[in-house]
């Protein structure tokens, strides 16, 4: 249970029974296309708005995860989900379709690991046999809500990031085969006073650093415990800042095992500026790419640090700075138990 200041250690080690990653056309051209369960060629998914399309992405991710676990949606006991839309409509509307007891979360892009940490806590504390954690984002709906109308075609600086269109879901249970959730470090809100919505990676980097340090301190471990440490969506700019800050604080993580989902997801020649972002960035890369590598035996222990920028379109128009958060969850393949 609680260890140190802000870390939960899950004694029963809840298992990821199944996980799913669904993406759009841009993700299909990306570096991790192979790791998605479904890739769509149409960002509209046949719907008449981006918001409705995003909801469909999330519904599909949930369906696939439930199906892969060999379950029916009636068997799912709790659904935890968050997204970037106002009043988290994508999550709530997908929960309407699922018809499962639901907890809506808002942690911006950190929602993936916020949901997963809470789902693990629910399962570990035996409050449920299983729980489903999901999240989604859509490039069109996010651009519309946070930036400019998509048809306006506004210029972006090189520090800006490209919101991932897609959704991911993970089904946790008390017993089964798959990667196990061993601990979670809940982040504090960190605000270094940055207010540029076109440099979210830079704004979120200190939050990621704070959580990584807290995780190591609480568990009394260092980077050597993990095969891979990945931040959620800092992008090239933010990830470099995070690496520099960690080094400055005396935490040196070798470059080859410290990566970022926003850097991994797209190819270098795609016009994504500093890299990918959005709830679906961390979710699809973790649930698709990393879990697949864990099941293959390439990775034994990983730490995912999902980063989130907790501002609203209104708050930055009113010149408020961007408060940021990061939640870290560690996953392990256990010898002999899987």
């Amino acid at each position: 249970m609680i260890q140190g200041h802000q870390t939960w250690v899950f004694n029963s080690k809840p298992v990821i029974l199944a996980s799913s990653a669904v993406g759009g056309p841009f993700e299909a051209q990306g570096a991790l296309a192979e790791d998605f369960d479904v890739l769509h060629g149409d960002i509209w998914l046949g719907e008449d708005s981006f918001e409705k399309a995003e909801k469909k992405f999330l519904e599909q991710a949930c369906e696939i995860a439930i199906h892969k676990a060999g379950m029916k949606k009636e068997d799912v006991q709790f659904f935890l989900s968050g997204d970037l839309m106002n009043q988290i409509i994508s999550s709530s509307f997908a929960a309407r379709t699922l018809g499962v007891p639901y907890l809506g979360l808002f942690g911006a892009c950190s929602s993936a690991m916020e949901g997963l940490a809470l789902a693990a806590l629910i399962v570990d504390s035996k409050a449920a046999q299983n729980a489903l954690a999901g999240t989604s984002s859509h490039n069109g709906s996010v651009e519309k809500q946070f930036r400019y109308p998509t048809e306006y075609g506004s210029q972006k600086p090189p520090t800006a990031q490209w919101t991932v269109t897609g959704a991911g879901a993970a089904l946790l249970a008390q017993e089964g085969e798959g990667p196990r959730v061993t601990s979670a470090t809940i982040g504090r809100v960190i605000d270094m006073g940055l207010s540029d919505p076109y440099n979210m990676g830079g704004a979120m980097a200190p939050a990621a650093v704070d959580t990584i340090q807290a995780h190591f301190r609480d568990l009394n471990i260092d980077h050597s415990y993990y095969d891979m440490i990945a931040t959620g969506d800092l992008g090239r700019v933010g990830h470099q800042i995070a690496a520099d800050l960690l080094a400055k604080h005396g935490v040196k993580i070798p470059a080859k095992k410290f990566t970022d989902c926003g850097i991994l997801i797209y190819k270098k020649n795609q016009p994504v500026m500093a890299g990918g972002s959005g709830c679906a960035c961390c979710a699809t890369v973790t649930y698709g790419h990393f879990f697949k590598r864990m099941r293959k035996g390439e990775l034994k222990r990983i730490l995912i640090v999902a980063t989130g920028a907790l501002m609203s379109p209104l708050s930055y128009q009113q010149k408020e700075s961007i408060p940021c958060i990061a939640h870290a969850v560690s996953f392990e393949m256990l010898e002999g138990r899987n």
Partner: protein
Amino acid sequence: MEKFLFAFLVGGAICVIGQIMMDVFRLTPAHTMSTLVVVGAILGGLGLYEPLVKFAGAGASVPISSFGNSLVKGALSEAEKTGIVGVLTGIFEVTSAGISAAIIFGFMGSLLFKPKG
């Protein structure tokens, strides 16, 4: 031939100013655009924009600052003819072609493509 060079240099310089406003001074695209319109209007009112158009041709008449100049030009010429109310009636006199074209071509485009993001 040198007219092309001047058009390129002056038009390019106006765009560079706009880019610097966005990249260095962190103005939003909307603020950048309206600032350039206002600057064009002020220069037009002071009688400085017309010589620039004569010198650089399309280099000065195509950028958005020319729109500000045209607003003032229409308002002033109508005010001379009909008095102070001409400021209100004349403001879109020169620019009406551009505004109407934007609406009409926008409408035509929306018939062919999905206009709503």
